[in-house]
Structures are given as structure tokens and as C-alpha cells.
Symmetry: C2
Subunit: 383 residues, 2 copies
């Protein structure tokens, strides 16, 4: 049976392939985007897991928008105004997919930074959006380029990850956030703010969401994969209610609703008195690992390579002199370290600037040290 | 923000609306398709719920195709040949959605029986399929009409619910199953077999799947909502591996994977020694309720109305003389009983023959008796 035209446009995921290769025990993987299993707050979930046995209602069909008590809790926690609402999705990945399906016609322009999150490229690709990119600097998207792009292309949406961007780790400055929000309002472009890493800040103060500056022109996606557990597959999408209603309608066809026992489990976790302590522990662990990775990189990277410092998130971006990064990643894999080459993060891979994405959340300090040695050795061979 | 053209084609769900109205305490609802909460095998799930606390791996990101141990178990349980594989979906509703997205281009012809499952009409509508219908008789689809339809329209797929069809309760005969399979092979039409009610047979012997007669030209969807619990949101899709691979690719973008703790919970349940007893108990409960409903209908329905007997499933279909079934459903609701009028189950609602769908799984015997009294009273007023 021939596959659909929209699916034909989706390349098979290089990351999936490299992750498969990286499962070799002799390879240290900095390729994935996995939180450390040891950080999962299972102790804090255990009481709710036991209570589920006494909650037959959570095993019944549920509301498409989400489990009522969780919706109520998040509405308060997120301080949503009367005009806004929140819905629960099967991971924030589903939130993105619903947005694409509810709003994008083939050929509609969606703006992204380049490089950008692979999963977003997939869902917007599947609805045959015309993805237009703007370049990114240390404080976010290039603003002149962005305005020019809005003028030229009249895009429907601007999708971005302003907090600890995947793959670059860039955190947008306050001024950039305000400026982007103003542009979105002026040019009537919906801002799709994807914030899965926001809670993983280990240095400095949290900045407002971009959406805080354009609350009626944005949709905000939050993930519970990094602060609770990815296995639960829960995310939350919020925005003004008329933006959310079409997403609920698509979700009816997509999966009716997300797992209700998992939503009840998440609610119990978020309400647990030790949840803030759990968050501190995660941040502290990841900060230590980041520091180990980053200082090793600073010491050992060849001079023509640049590792970019971050204040949080899960990734460090290493820029390289022009080279074939796929061949490099292969060499590094043979050298016992898995990384992701930059072109996979570009909607137009041939426009990629040579770089590597390194993850620091799912390897021990010792492994990170050793990985950098292998990386430096490999780079010195090739570059 | 303007919604997508494909979403504009989807009418808002009348069933959702009537279900909302039916939440009134004075209304007995035969409108939904809910299993009885009391049948959920929570006792059988409790041991696994406790074990989850010791399984940190199920809280990590998982494989898109599903949790390995569950996949292995189902491969054996379903007796899949080497060439076939199974994947786990977020409810079998997602399986349908993935099939539509992976294979259907706008305008591609999908054949269904009329009436048909609303959720299927939604997902095929969202991908802008051209839905062509064939009529249904007591033993399944009209076979001459089906062959003519295959000849005329060269459809890509034939979607059907051969076991205890939603909404009519019809169970295809063995001869019809064999004939449909042969037609699908001859005309190269993929048979999409949706089997959520198959395990709810309370009379007679199980017939082979239609897919058993065309294993290389079919995709089979199974649900765990009726035998375990709908809240878990788990289904399974199987077929030859080259049919399944594109579904996995779409699922990567749709939600990465289904909840892993829920998959582990399901595995524990299916392996529990008392699971077969649990299934017997469900069947026995639903048989009793069906018998109560059906004999009350036979006694009290006006002469020009016909209730169709079933051997399993969740629904009884009551055919009526020509009338405005929406107005009738409204009158019945005011009379304290909620039912679903036939046009909502037709891709072309104006072609609907007047009928009502009655659910018998989620009301007590007393409530079913009372509901039929109210129904008969309302029908006598209107018809």
C-alpha cells in the first residue's frame, strides 16, 4: 500500500538511527535527549500509584481536554486568566502535532529558527507547511531577519524554544522576548512557544515567557517529561480558549484523551510537598554534569572549535570549522562517543553550519570526562 | 487564527453534546459507549501498580512501537507470523488515525458500511478522504454492492467493524468474512479491521477475523478499552511489517510513544491468572443486561419499530418508521432517556434510515427496564 504524499516528505529520523547505534555498551552516548532515570521522582509518585487502586473513575473514558482535577490545578498553577484555558496532551509532542493539524493548510508558512527542534520539523512537515527559517544568535532569533521574514512571507506561526533551545541551548534575552512578542502582535503571527526545558535552569533568574508579552497571540506548550518522567507521556497546552478549542476537536480523533491514571499520578506528584525539593535536586545534578562537560570541553577542544555556555537545559552546542559532520559523527562513534551532527536540525540540511549537539543529562561525570577525551581525539584526527 | 481546511470539514460531535446533556441525574443514558466502571479489573492490576515503583525504566522515554515485553507477549498471544508485527497505540482510536495519516491522500476513496463508527468518519474526514459507503444487512455488507463499489471507485481501503458493529451490533457471517477477504485480495483493497468489541461475545462461537483470510492485505486494530480499561488508552495494531512501519513513523511525530507505565500495567493484567475469569464475568454481566434490555424492548416497543438481536458487543439498534430522529432524541431526552439518533453514524446523514442506538453495558438492570419504559412512552407519543 503506497504511503501518503505527506509522509513521503518526512525523512527517517537520523537521531533514532544514531541512538540505536549508541546502545552499544562501549559507546558513551551524548546523542540522546534523555533525562537521567535516577532523577525520576518515583518515591513521590508511590503514594498516588497505591491510591489509583481506589479510583475506578480514572480507569473510565475521560474528557478530551484532560482530567478535571488536573486541569483545575494547572489553571491555578499557571495563573491563567478567565479567557484562557489549558488542555492535557499525550506528551507536548502531541500538542505540537495538534497545533499543526488544527491550523496549517499545505503551503502555509511556519517560521522557525535554524537550527530547530527535529520533532517540530516532523509535524509541520507532515501537514506540508512551508517552513521558512531565520538565523539565531546568542540572544535568540535575528530580529531584523525575523521582521523581514514576517513582512515577506505573512507566516501563520512562529515556532520557537526560547528557554534552553534544542539543539543550541540558547536562552532568549528579555529584550528579544519583548521584541518578538511585539512583532507577532504587529504582523498577526501566532507565537508557538515550546518550553520543555524551562524548569531546568541552574544559573540566573527565570525570564518571563514570550507569551506573557503576547498572551492573545500565542500558544504555550509545557512538558512534564523533564520535571516528572517522559514515560508518562504528558504535556500541557495553554492559550486563549478559542485557540485551544480546535486542538480539542483534533484530539478527539487523534486519541480521544490522554491516559487518565497517568494524569492522576502527575497531579499527585505536582501536589507532593517534596516536589520543589525534587526540582532542586534535578537542577543541581544537571548543573554539576554540565560543569564537568563544559570545563572538559574548554580544556580539550581544538582551538577552532567553540563550545557555547548555557544556563540550563540539556544540551551544549559545539561549533566546528566547515566539515562533513555526518562523517565526523561516524568517526566519533567508532571512537566510542555518540553525538548528533548539526544538519539534522535544519529544515534545509545543506544550509547547516558545522556543529555537534552534546547532551549532558544522561551520563555520569566520569563518562562525560571520558566522552570529551574521545571527542577531542576524534576531532583532532578529522579537523 | 483560522483553522485548517481539513478541520473545517469535521462537524462537532453530536454524541459529545448528548453525553453532556445525559449527565443530568434524572436522565438514564443509553447514549454512550462506556463499559461499566465496576467491571474494571482493578484488583488484578493492583500488584503491577505496586511493582511500577521498582521499575524506573518504564518512566523513561520508550520505543515508538511499544514496550518491548508487551510487544513480545502480544506477538505470541496473537500468533503473528514472522512477516507480521504489532505496535501499541494510544487507544485503538490512534491506530485508526495513524492509518489515515500514513496512507490517505486527499480524495483517496475509503469504503465503509453505512451506518459506521463515528470516530472512523472523523479521522478519515481529517485527511480529506472521499468516503464511499455500502449498505449493511444482517450478515454484513451487501456483497454485490461492495464488489460494484470496488470496481467503480478503486478504493484504497475498506474500513469495517465485523464483530458487533458500532452502531448496529451486526456480526458478519463466516461466508461474508471469506467473501470480503477474497474481494479485497482481488481488487487490491486494504482491509482495515477494527475489532474493539470482539471479546464481548456472550452467545455462540467466535468466528475467524476477516484478516485471517487476507493476512497480507489487511491491518487489524484491537482495543484494550473493553477488556481492561478505557482510561489506560491502549490499543494494538497488527499487520505485515511493511504496513506497520509507516504507522510507526507517523507516531513518532504524533506522540513519540504511548505511556510506558500503562503498557507495563496492561502486560501484568493480561498475564494475571485470573484474567480469563475476569473476561467471563464481564461477558456474563453484559449478557444479563442485554437480555433485560432486549426482552423489555420486545415487550414494549411500538409494532412498527424493530430491535435487532445481537450475540455480543455493547449496542442494540432499533429501526423506526421514517421520522425526524434528532427531534425524537430530544423528546426522549426530555422524557428522561438519552439515545443516539442514526444520522450521526452516516457519512451522508441525509441518507440515514431512521433508527436509534441503545447501549446496554453501563446501566443497571433496573435502569434498563425504566429506560425502555420511557423510550416506549416517547416513541408512542411521536411515531
Amino acid at each position: 500500500m503506497e504511503i501518503s504524499d505527506s509522509l513521503k516528505r518526512i525523512p527517517s529520523s537520523y537521531i533514532r538511527e544514531i541512538l540505536a547505534a549508541a546502545s552499544d555498551k562501549n559507546v558513551i552516548s551524548l546523542a540522546g535527549g534523555l533525562p537521567d532515570e535516577k532523577t525520576f521522582p518515583i518515591d513521590l509518585m508511590t503514594p498516588t500509584l497505591a491510591e489509583l487502586s481506589c479510583m475506578p473513575n480514572v480507569f473510565q473514558y475521560g474528557a478530551t481536554a484532560g482530567y478535571g482535577p488536573l486541569i483545575d490545578y494547572l489553571t491555578t498553577r499557571f495563573q491563567l486568566p478567565e479567557s484562557h484555558s489549558v488542555m492535557i496532551t499525550t506528551g507536548s509532542q502531541q500538542g505540537l502535532d495538534l497545533i499543526a493539524r488544527a491550523y496549517i493548510n499545505p503551503g502555509d508558512v511556519v517560521v522557525m529558527e535554524a537550527p530547530s527542534y527535529l520533532g517540530a520539523m516532523q509535524v509541520f512537515g507532515l501537514v506540508q507547511a512551508n517552513i521558512v527559517t531565520v538565523s539565531q544568535n546568542e540572544s535568540g532569533p535575528d530580529l531584523d531577519e525575523l521582521e523581514q521574514c514576517f513582512k515577506t512571507h505573512s507566516p501563520k506561526m512562529f515556532y520557537a524554544v526560547p528557554d534552553f533551545h534544542n539543539p543550541t541551548g540558547v536562552c532568549w534575552s528579555l529584550a528579544t522576548r519583548q521584541h518578538v512578542a511585539a512583532l507577532c502582535i504587529e504582523y498577526k503571527v501566532a507565537f508557538i512557544e515550546d518550553a520543555p526545558y524551562r524548569e531546568l535552569r541552574f544559573t540566573g533568574e527565570a525570564l518571563p515567557f514570550v507569551s506573557d508579552f503576547c498572551p492573545n497571540d500565542s500558544i504555550l506548550l509545557r512538558s512534564f517529561s523533564k520535571i516528572a518522567s517522559p514515560g508518562l507521556r504528558l504535556g500541557a497546552v495553554s492559550g486563549k480558549s478559542e485557540f485551544i478549542a480546535p486542538l480539542i476537536k483534533v484530539k478527539q480523533g487523534a486519541d480521544l484523551h490522554s491516559s487518565v491514571p497517568m494524569q492522576a499520578l502527575l497531579l499527585g506528584l505536582l501536589q507532593h510537598e517534596d516536589f520543589p525539593l525534587h526540582m532542586e535536586n534535578i537542577r543541581s545534578l544537571y548543573q554539576t554534569r554540565y560543569q564537568v562537560l563544559f570545563s572538559a570541553l574548554e580544556k580539550q577542544l581544538p582551538e577552532n572549535c567553540t563550545a557555547h555556555a548555557v544556563d540550563g537545559g540539556m544540551f551544549v552546542w559545539v561549533e566546528l570549522p566547515p566539515c562533513d559532520t555526518f562523517a565526523l559523527a561516524k568517526t566519533l562513534l567508532a571512537n566510542g562517543v555518540a553525538v548528533v551532527p548539526s544538519p539534522v536540525f535544519y529544515p534545509q540540511p545543506d544550509q547547516a553550519r558545522a556543529a555537534l549537539r552534546l547532551n549532558f543529562t544522561n551520563a555520569t561525570e566520569e563518562a562525560l570526562e571520558e566522552a570529551v577525551s574521545r571527542l577531542a581525539q576524534g576531532l583532532n584526527q578529522v579537523i
